[in-house]
Amino acid sequence: METQSYTPVPPGVGMEENFLSLDDILLSHERLPCRTESAFPRLGFLEKSADTRDIPEGTKMEMPLWLAKGLYERKRRTLSVDPPKTYRQGWRTVLGADPNVVDLHKMGPYFYGMGSQLLHFDSPENAEIAQTVLQTFIGRFRRTMDASQNALDADTSALVAPLDALERALFRAGQAGLAAYQRWEGGASGRIEASGLVVNYRKRKLGELQA
């Protein structure tokens, strides 16, 4: 049965974030190249390379997404964010030519998530970034689907390696559907098994005894 010992909180997709999702927490730690457009008094501790009390206007620094979102204001220019190179013209052209040749895991691993989050920051390139992110997803869909329908005992590591986090989640969903069907077809779904929680509990107990 599909019942799990607990239900993991899924990440938000696109510009939405799920505060309680581990994936989204990891995404919010991805670093972005920024430039301060005003001074930030007493925030010098955020800038590791300089030993000053304030961050002066015009400082170029990297900061995590969550911080950039926190400091950014649309009305007052406090901060400008440069899209990471993956989302700039050069890579957009590559992705537009053939999205399947790119290793999004290396470039991501949150390619779609970060691409969507970037749109929170005003930039003349936003429309093109959004378009590239969408077209890349569509262009790679067939491959993600075919990979996920691969035989379950086959070695899929080479197929999975270039997938970004979102595609991997879809890949796993596809494999889970296939696995459930094959279990049913093989007649194994009628068998009763101990829940993962119980098995782990026993293992822990055993570990404690041995310790």
Partner: protein, 222 residues
């Protein structure tokens, strides 16, 4: 024996509802079960169905108490009871899972409900949702928030937890013919168009478009 297991009594609804036979009742429960499993949002509770089914099961189980062991008929009745119980628990469980997933929004909807409108939640589900919310908040406070600066110690759960996405696609089968269902375009180049949903046909489309039809029972999610 034959007395104890004679025809299951017809159910008459408490108010103005039509009389529903037990067979129809079970069919309604199964419809509600599949709709709840596949709809992206929490549907209106079907407490009256749940209660009637429970009544039927209790009634049948009481009768079975009086039957001697090893009776073939009784064993068939027990199998049926187990099957109905499975659907019932799976139905209630899928509602609880959605409440856990969307708890702030579920509670918000309940709060903003107009006086006199029926609640989306059963009283038990409402209690569960409130407790789930309170437990989550207490937990976050205990492990993290109390260590934060005072101005950062609150968290807006409505913003922290995404809403159900009504634009999700669903599979459905049409039970009552529908005309002129508007299909919104997916891209700027496409144009909106209308489709007729023939009885018995199956479709893949956005939940938002057909949500009212799920509520009215004109389509069944599959």
């Amino acid at each position: 024996m034959s007395d104890a297991l004679s025809e299951a009594s017809d159910l008459s609804g408490d108010d103005s509802q039509d009389v529903m036979t037990p067979t129809e009742l079970i069919a309604k429960l199964e419809e509600a079960w599949l709709n709840e499993k596949f709809s992206p949002e929490l549907l209106k509770n079907k407490s009256e169905i749940v209660e009637c089914v429970m009544e039927q099961l209790t009634h049948m189980e009481e009768n079975l108490q009086r039957v001697r062991k090893g009776d073939v008929k009784a064993s068939i009745h027990r199998m049926e009871i187990d099957r109905i119980r499975f659907v019932l628990s799976s139905y209630l469980r899928s509602r609880l899972q959605k409440i856990e997933k969307f708890f702030p929004h579920v509670l918000e909807k309940e709060k903003s409900r107009a006086e006199g409108d029926p609640s989306f939640l059963s009283p038990e589900e409402f209690a569960f949702a409130k407790e789930y919310m309170a437990n989550t908040e207490t937990y976050l406070k205990a492990v993290a928030l109390r260590h934060m600066p005072p101005n950062l110690q609150t968290i807006d759960m409505l913003k922290a937890v995404p809403e159900p996405c009504l634009d999700s696609f669903v599979f459905l089968r049409v039970k009552e013919r529908q005309e002129n269902i508007l299909v919104e375009p997916e891209t700027d180049e496409q144009r909106e168009y209308v489709v007729d949903l023939e009885e018995g046909s199956q479709h893949l489309m956005r939940y938002r478009t057909i949500a009212p039809l799920v509520a009215s029972g004109a389509v069944q999610l599959i």
